[in-house]
Symmetry: C2
Subunit: 496 residues, 2 copies
């Protein structure tokens, strides 16, 4: 029997994020409909197509042909679509994507991914044997973290985790039985990684757990920070010196738009640091279909590349992935299209390029537009994003709200999000979902949405925010804390 | 660092099946090609489309349209295809299957599944809240087993498991940290479940673990046994009396062809046994796309229905499924098509019916043909299958093979499979992969393949088998053990 008290304590210990509660609330609100003209807009997670972003036509066409091969004869579909689909069907067992694949993915796609990585990293070699395809990057991360999860006496394995971190990460670590050991990112420096903070966190962690790995998100989820080569080198040197496994979320590698910034992979930097590092530092890098420019979240497929990992350990990766058989074949094939899209001369090249350019333009324009808008609101300040898909503005909440949240036993930022959702039908994420437990409050806002949706979100958010502040007794608003434009001065703490 | 000795001991403890080794061998053989005219035929697992079975056209057409909605305008596609696709796109967030869904699946599909279950079970009600969609039935089972996995002192949770069991099950229980407690099925009765064996197994288990659940496979994987109502009632009464959670693999519910047999769900029987049972017995039933008639293994989607489970416990199911976000949307939609195919009057009805009738005819004819062929081989005896997709013949191996296997430190049935694969390019499963550790040897052979492939498999298998026996010194073959047709007498043990 599985009465509540007999449920696996580790499962009972998985922290419950307010994210899903807010999503349920959003679903209920959608059903009853706020105002006839309004629909709920969800910018709390990177669910891009839900938010109205369009899929890549070439990718969808290829998959449609693979599912219904009669379409190979359809002359209305571009030739490169049909050729790619034909190639895919040839490499699927039984000529069908209804067949199982090896647990780590189709050999052909693993090779193609390794070729992509080699191209991306200016020739740093990648081996198909190091590539493991899974049902999304979360599933790959589950396996990687499970490998290092041990208990010695009362001491569990720990993972140094950025604060803020992706909102999906804390529960994943709980489920694997691994301790989340926070390291602070530096908000004032655009959420950069600071070496002193890493050392500090490691020192703190050592008393409580056995630190085995460090998690990095670059481009940063939810911060939008993009590391430069120097910063990456510092982290690698730290991991090398402390013998930590590097878990690198590089899912948003296709979204870097900050002036003078480019995506450099951890692997490339590692290999360009010389053999002292390239032969020794253990690293796992994650990528998937749910990226800024591909956005195929619903297809549920990703991969990890495991570098410098003992082949005997990789054997266990296969063993773990084997338990739920393999990743969806539709998604495995989609990975191939994502990493090797049409090139000049291909019939689909022009359409593809137009679609991608539109997405990229949306990304950078929206990021700037939203950041400026948020910074103009009193009690809000927002670092610019250099990449990724989120802005992560700080919210200086009036003391009334904080007190009300305490009474309701809810995080103050969650209370803010609930109200925003109920009053304006806009769902943004609360910083407390990103692991932050300090008295600093933040919001998480995905800007990779159509520009008109973003305008709608900003209008509703702004209107709600100003209404909230106006409703408070002026004596409590601390006029002395405001500058001449009625904004809170940046260096003043809210009245808590 | 993840040096081998620091890998999570539970992961290191996952038993390694010879199945994947044999599959790797098959892949290598495919690459070097045995004989120019031959290709490797894999009948070791229920990978139906790999083996040449055709997908359901209606299902594939609907999914193709969903992926590439331009096809909604394609008049060459049947109207019911386009209408179903249109409905699906309406219920997908953002009108796209590239969006995430709730972690337990799309509300719409869960409701549709509940309706299907109610129809199937002659009106026994099903509630969408009890239906959890996952990336395949294995993933659902992982979650259900994880819920009951606890350790008290040295005592772990145990699951009563049929012998033989599905070849994917032992590793799954290992990974969840749960003890596999075997109960024997009665081969001579067509692999029926025997109540005495259940009591015996439970008694044995009580010393070693905390028995929390009983796993049932009906129709049986790999046995082909189909339980009748009386047998199901017995199992339910046993589970009720012993307060065990019923984990019922009903994945092959669409494949029952034994004379006078029909599929009756555990849930239906439970509810028809009266409130004493229907209100109390905890049950989880699994179903998925990888069935005999649908066979969409590569789409990786299934569901479980949880009956009489505390809502607070179901909350944790959601929590666990949330960790890797949600099941693939393509597969979620495919579930809808599988459970509600075209009906009379629909444009696709005739095609659908022809396809399904062909599959059903193949199933029953192949099962009979293969069983008769195998029973005609010396040293082989095979119970008839009443359903499912496998035959599970017993192999009375000559003592030379058993001794050679001992020396090579490999299971004797695995050695047999290796040789068959190398010499004839036919991959069958070994009974030891199905959890059987006795000195009785078995093979696992999926008969849900095109009839000509089956003939090819049988010819190669027969030829190999007879060659193997002929190559042995006659004095060792035990002529006294053979009947007049040169077959081993059924009641004689092999020379071990």
């Amino acid at each position: 029997m599985i009465s509540l008290q007999h449920v696996n304590p580790r499962v009972r210990g998985i922290r419950v994020s307010s994210h899903s509660e807010l999503q349920s609330l959003a679903a209920r609100i959608t059903q009853v409909a706020l105002k006839p003209c309004q629909k709920v807009i969800d910018v709390s997670s990177g669910d891009l197509q839900q938010a109205g972003m369009k899929p890549v036509s070439f990718l969808r066409q290829v998959l449609a042909v693979c599912l219904h091969p009669e379409l190979l004869k359809d002359k209305d579909l571009p030739l490169d679509v049909r050729l790619r689909a034909q190639r895919f069907l040839e490499v699927c067992d039984g000529g069908s994507l209804g067949s199982y694949t090896a647990s780590s993915g189709m050999e052909y796609i693993r090779r193609r991914i390794a070729e992509f990585i080699t191209r991306r990293d200016a020739g740093v070699p990648s081996n198909a044997k190091d590539v493991f395809i899974s049902s999304g990057s979360q599933r790959a991360l589950m396996v990687a973290v499970k490998l290092i999860s041990t208990v010695e006496g009362d001491i569990r394995s720990g993972v140094l985790t950025p604060m803020p971190c992706p909102h999906t990460l804390p529960a994943l670590l709980d489920e694997a039985g691994v301790t989340l050991e926070p390291y602070e990112l530096i908000e004032e420096q655009g959420w950069a990684i600071d070496l002193d903070k890493l050392h500090e966190a490691l020192k703190d962690a050592r008393g409580r757990c056995n630190p085995r790995a460090i998690y990095i998100s670059n481009p940063g989820n939810p911060t939008g920070h993009v590391q430069d080569r120097h910063s990456i080198e510092e982290v690698i040197q730290f991991a090398a010196a402390e013998r930590l496994l590097l878990l690198v979320d590089e899912v948003n590698q296709d979204s870097v738009f900050g002036p003078g910034r480019e995506f450099i992979s951890y692997k490339r930097v590692l290999f360009e640091m010389g053999e002292e590092f390239s032969q020794t530092v253990e690293m796992v890098s994650f990528y998937c279909l749910s990226t800024a420019c591909c956005g195929e979240c619903g297809l549920r497929t990703g991969y990890m590349e495991m570098i410098n990992i003992d082949p005997q350990v990789k054997f266990f990766v296969d063993t773990c992935l084997c338990i739920d058989i393999c990743a969806p074949v539709v998604g495995q094939l989609a990975l191939d299209v994502m990493i090797d899209p049409p090139t000049p001369g291909d019939p689909s090249y022009d359409t593809y390029t137009q679609e991608i350019l539109l997405t990229r333009a949306t990304l950078s324009q929206n990021a700037q537009r939203a950041q400026e808008f948020l910074n103009d609101l009193p009690g809000m300040r927002c670092e610019p994003a250099m990449g990724g898909i989120y802005l992560y503005p700080r919210l200086d909440l009036p003391s009334e709200i904080v007190r009300e949240a305490e009474i309701s036993e809810v995080e103050a930022d969650v209370l803010y999000c609930q109200r925003l959702l109920k009053e304006e039908g806009v769902l943004v994420g609360a910083g407390s979902q990103n692991g932050q437990t300090t008295d600093k409050h933040h919001l998480r806002l995905c800007f990779n949405v159509p520009s008109d949706s973003l305008e709608d979100v900003l209008t509703r958010l702004g209107s709600f925010h100003l209404r909230l502040l106006d409703a408070l007794p002026h004596s409590h608003r601390g006029v002395e804390d405001m500058d001449t434009r009625g904004k809170y001065k940046k260096d003043i703490k809210p009245l808590v």
